[in-house]
Symmetry: C2
């Protein structure tokens, strides 16, 4: 019998409890998992196992029987202190806390390694989609060249409603809120902050060097209009909120709306679904698709991580190492290179004079074009005289 | 230094060599991998390491230094005898040999378990796409409900040419052969035999009970016409060769052309790409997409398996167990239930009389409709009086 604890009995934490209970979880010849404690500040007087609830973190920390702890509290405080204390006390930790991993990942992974423990976080990116583990193991023989992901279900739902139903951003946001996909304060989603933490985690994993999410250029979807979406569609593109990173000398990385070609498999990820495209030097393009959120999808990824930590009990753990970069390793956004989609009222002649022989489309009395690959600072100064109605980066996949 | 051997120096085997040499492969704090032998019946007099080639399998079998062997020979003879002998001699084996895994998997996995060894075969399905390992670990907390996969790149290339370029089957096949995607004798691909072995492996993994590929209903794409593909497209579907399995009391499993809705992410897998949709009870739909073949894509999956086997050196291995079913666990195809796409010259009235209130489309002087869900034997007897021009199963995803 392997004993574990769950910290935080909200949506995801209770999902972990439900899955383990429902399946009376036994893996291979392993002893079953027993949930010995649930930590939550709230009372659950009607819970069938109310005796296992505690409000005192020390019950878990000081219990030598606890082998693995599921941290589903979210936020930095007190999750950071708790996780650190648990790892130092020799307990494996499984988390869905992208905020914590993106902020204190290097330190927590280092402590885990020093103590031969797992600190696992499959559920922190893409909900239940297997992406962290494939990056760390299945793709291990590849050098990752590039990652582009639809990492936030709320914004993808909103954009899909705009694309498929011709809804305005405002109406689509309200619908997302009414359906429970968006918070009352939706800024973490629609301003791109959620996707930013996730791409920071993926980039850190892909190249083994910590990327601080605070250094990542982050734009949300609040400025995307129905006209942008419709015009892009006429050119054969969908507008998606993309977390992007590409390794050259420095790391080109950002979160922003991007035009994705209809023939790109990312374009098939609609509604609340997430999809992550990974370009490996040997494998070429691969994509991982599924539900990026939701109680049971996310909880099932955490249970798989618990099983993983139990699978090699007493054996040497597979470590993840995030080295701290010696200096800022991120390319300034102004130095990044992209193609750009532009809508303008300017005349064709002026466009051609500035951007050369690009193909210019007449759509609804506007001129619409996509530039060749150009450095962002050059693009910005060149496009200014055209007084663009909008300009959006184009994904090169 | 961990010493390994490669058996079979064809496309994939030489890819494994190239990757390990190019990357001078060192994983984490592990000692690097050294390739001590390459087994091949041919001579490679100009190879830079010609001294490591051998024609004698016993050199590998009897060398206690060899920890892991990469089997890239293909076929059953002598791969089966060699693999069995290696596992019994205490050596881990990594393979891309779907034929061997689908035929002798239960026995070889049992021997591996008894000797605490890995027998790993990520490269046997989907080339470099991570699918075997995600099924065995990341999705471990899920009960798989259903798998539907585009598992053969050659047939997908042919169908994509038919759909996108309006080519006939014959012309598309010739183009696949000219491009090196199809063999001169293309029957293993176009008759569905390749996909059949792969869906057998996935089904065996998903439910832990061996599925004999010889028992799987297998139809290829040779009867699919340009008219089928064009008509399906007008109704919003692509025609794909699908390996399908769904677990109810018995296992509904087959390989056949199926209509896939354009909104289904599988429909976005075009050309030589593969894609595998997995439906889990907690995760819902997830999809894995990428290059299902190719020298380096496949070889990179094998190298990842080698790393996996070395990662937990001397520790307890994670076993895969395929129990033998007590009796035939496969639903006869005649008992399976699907919706069916039908093209016929019969009149609307006759169709409605037989199939009730289905929506009947007039396309190019034909009546085209999709049935409700119906048992296959019932469908066959009902559709007969309509003298269908073609009838194709419809994927329910």
């Amino acid at each position: 019998m392997v004993k574990i604890a769950i910290m935080g009995y909200g949506t995801v934490g209770s999902g972990v409890y439900d899955i383990i209970k429902a399946d009376n979880f036994a893996y291979e010849a392993m002893n079953p998992i027993e949930i010995k404690y649930i930590l939550d500040i709230r009372d659950f007087p009607d819970h069938p196992e109310k005796q296992i609830f505690t409000k005192d973190f020390n019950d878990i920390l000081n219990d030598d029987e606890i082998y693995c702890v599921v941290e589903a509290m979210g936020g930095l405080k007190p999750a950071y202190e708790f996780t650190k204390a648990l790892l130092m006390a020799g307990k494996n930790v499984v988390t869905s806390n992208k905020e914590l991993v993106a902020t204190h990942g290097p330190e927590l992974l280092k402590i885990a390694k020093e103590n031969n423990l797992n600190y696992l976080f499959e559920a922190s990116v893409g909900g239940g989609i297997p992406i962290i583990k494939p990056l760390c193991s299945s793709l291990k023989a590849n050098t990752v060249k590039k990652i582009a992901g639809i990492l936030n279900g709320t914004t993808n739902f909103i954009l899909t409603q705009m694309i498929d139903e011709g809804m305005s951003f405002k109406d689509a946001l309200k619908m997302a809120q009414d359906n429970g996909y968006a918070e009352r304060d939706p800024s973490a989603d629609i301003e791109g902050h959620d996707a930013c933490r996730k791409i920071a985690i993926l980039a850190s994993l892909a190249w083994g060097e910590y990327v601080n999410y605070k250094d990542i250029w982050t734009e949300g979807i609040t400025k995307i209009t129905l006209e942008d979406v419709e015009t892009a569609s006429k050119l054969g593109y969908s507008v998606k909120l993309i977390g992007y990173c590409q390794k050259r000398e420095k790391l080109a990385i950002w979160v922003s709306p991007m035009l994705v070609r209809h023939s790109c498999p990312l374009s098939a990820a609609n509604g609340v679904f997430n999809a992550i495209l990974v370009d490996g030097n040997y494998l070429g393009q691969s994509m991982f698709y599924g539900q990026g959120a939701g109680k049971f999808a996310t909880a099932s990824a955490m249970v798989a991580d618990v099983i993983e930590s139990v699978r090699h009990i007493n054996a040497k753990k597979a470590y993840i190492e995030w080295n701290m970069p010696e200096k800022n390793n991120i390319l300034p956004i102004s130095e990044s290179e992209n193609r750009y989609f532009v809508r303008t009222k300017a005349e064709k002649g002026s466009i051609k004079k500035i951007f050369g022989n690009v193909s210019v489309n007449e759509i609804n009395g506007e001129r619409v074009f996509i530039t060749d690959i150009i450095k962002e600072c050059d693009f910005e100064s060149k496009v200014k005289p055209l007084s663009p109605i909008s300009k959006i980066r184009v994904l090169d996949a």
